[in-house]
């Protein structure tokens, strides 16, 4: 009974939180550019408007991929909330990302195709870091189960500061913010129009937006795990990381995908591996 209550709370609460986070993003971006900016609930108005419009799709399978994307994002968030196997969460989350890529590819539009292939590059560059993050959790607790993190003697961040830095960049890639926002140029009307989501409109696009709201919560949840033993500090770290991503978004310009791949496969991967090597050599155990 308690589980069902939690599921309902996550299903309703997460999009509200994600919507507010998205609104704060737009407001903060506007303030940093010296504008007044839209109201805080603007993402909610956008979604409500999109739901009331006609659904125009190039082919019917587009709708299917969008549903898969939403369902797997929700599934990965629920698995995170229920403290399941972290490796499995990463795999489920990857299925969601790939569904969006395939949805973009299925349209045949050149903008969506280029956006999708760029998103594949993004997946290629952040996935190893996520796997190493899972490995660090395994080395420290002896299991991939997240429930072990709750009764850890000290927070994860104490022993994985380098992976934390790498995860901030992964957050940047995953939220599609500058300098890694080229798979879907999130300000619109740029060289890629809207990247993967170019051919979506109306309710289909609204579903993607709602899935993004869930994704915001899920990704901040990954940062939260660094200090899961004290939830207040964990949430605080998540919020700080999110605000940091918005600031980075506003002070950087877009880079080539080659730059991102070089950055993640050299610096991020190396610092993560150094961290893993340290954990392996010192043999620290949190439990």
């Amino acid at each position: 009974m308690n589980d069902i209550l939690t599921i309902i709370l996550v299903l309703i609460g997460a999009p509200i939180l994600g919507c507010l986070a998205s609104g704060i993003d737009r407001k903060l971006t506007a303030r940093l550019q010296g504008r007044v900016g839209p109201p805080l609930l603007q993402p909610y108005y956008d979604v409500r408007k999109l739901l009331s419009k006609d659904n125009i799709v190039v082919n019917p399978s587009q709708n299917f991929y969008v549903i898969v994307y939403l369902a797997f994002i929700i599934l990965s968030l629920l698995m995170l909330v229920f403290k399941q196997d972290f490796l499995m969460i990463i795999f489920v989350y990857t299925v969601a990302s790939v569904a969006l890529v395939v949805g973009g590819m299925s349209t045949g539009s050149p903008y969506a195709r280029i956006g999708s292939s760029r998103e594949i590059m993004a997946i290629l560059s952040y996935e190893p870091v996520l796997i190493l993050y899972a490995l660090a959790i395994y080395l420290l607790t002896g299991t991939f189960k997240l429930s072990a993190l709750l009764d850890a003697s000290s927070p994860l961040l104490m022993y994985t500061p380098l992976i934390f830095i790498a995860m901030i960049v992964v957050l940047n890639i995953k939220l599609k913010k500058s300098p890694f926002d080229y798979s879907t140029s999130h300000h619109g009307h740029q060289e890629l129009i809207k990247g993967m989501t170019t051919e979506y409109g109306g309710p289909g696009f609204a579903t993607i937006e709602i899935a993004h709201f869930y994704e915001y919560v899920f990704l901040t949840g990954l940062i939260f795990l660094f200090w899961a033993s004290a939830p207040v500090i964990g949430v605080l770290i998540g919020i700080i990381a999110y605000l940091l991503v918005i600031v980075i978004d506003n002070i950087t310009a877009r880079v080539y995908w080659q730059w991102m791949l070089k950055l993640s496969w050299t610096i991020l991967l190396v610092i993560s591996l150094v961290n893993i090597a340290f954990l392996y050599v010192s043999g620290v155990k949190l439990i």
């Binding site: 007044v36 900016g37 109201p39 408007k49 009331s52 006609d54 809207k194 170019t198 109306g202 696009f205």
Partner: protein, 156 residues
């Protein structure tokens, strides 16, 4: 009221001299900040609500304009910005010019001027919003415009 709170525009340049275009872009800059009304200049017609057209229509782009209009999901409105988009302007009797935008697709609101001030364009967008709401309430769908090669409209 949901439509009025987030009008996403698609900006179409039909043979414009760029005068009206930079005024449209000026609306989106921090000075006028159209985003505070929820306006986003979206690139794709599939996500747009308001079609902002600048410049007179000529035979080269008449099909492009029709194509873009057909791809916007209902409810939608068309806003003709500037003298050229409204009537053809000083180009109305050129041999390659069809005329104003209303010769090709149904136009809901006009913003006159050469070129119109950003305030006037924002006024036009706000006027388009109430039309958009009415269309939503009355469930008025935009008619699909047939693509017809280089055919000359009857009253041109």
């Amino acid at each position: 009221m949901s439509l009025a709170k987030s009008p996403w525009i698609i900006h179409v340049n039909c043979n414009s001299c760029n005068g009206c275009d930079i005024e449209v872009v000026a609306c989106l800059t921090p000075l006028y900040d159209a985003e505070r009304f929820g306006v986003i200049n979206i690139g794709t017609p599939k996500q747009a609500d308001i079609m902002v057209v600048t410049g007179s229509v000529n035979y080269k782009n008449v099909n492009v304009l029709k194509n873009l209009y057909n791809q916007i999901p209902d409810p939608k409105v068309v806003l003709a910005v500037g003298a050229c988009a409204s009537t053809g302007g000083i180009f109305h009797d050129c041999y390659n010019v069809v005329g104003g935008v209303d010769q090709v697709i149904p136009v809901d609101a006009y913003v006159p001027g050469c070129c119109p001030r950003p305030e006037a364009i924002l006024d036009g967008v706000v006027a388009a919003l109430s039309i958009l709401e009415n269309k939503k309430k009355g469930n008025i769908k935009g008619k699909e415009v047939k693509l017809k090669g280089n055919e000359v409209p009857s009253n041109a």
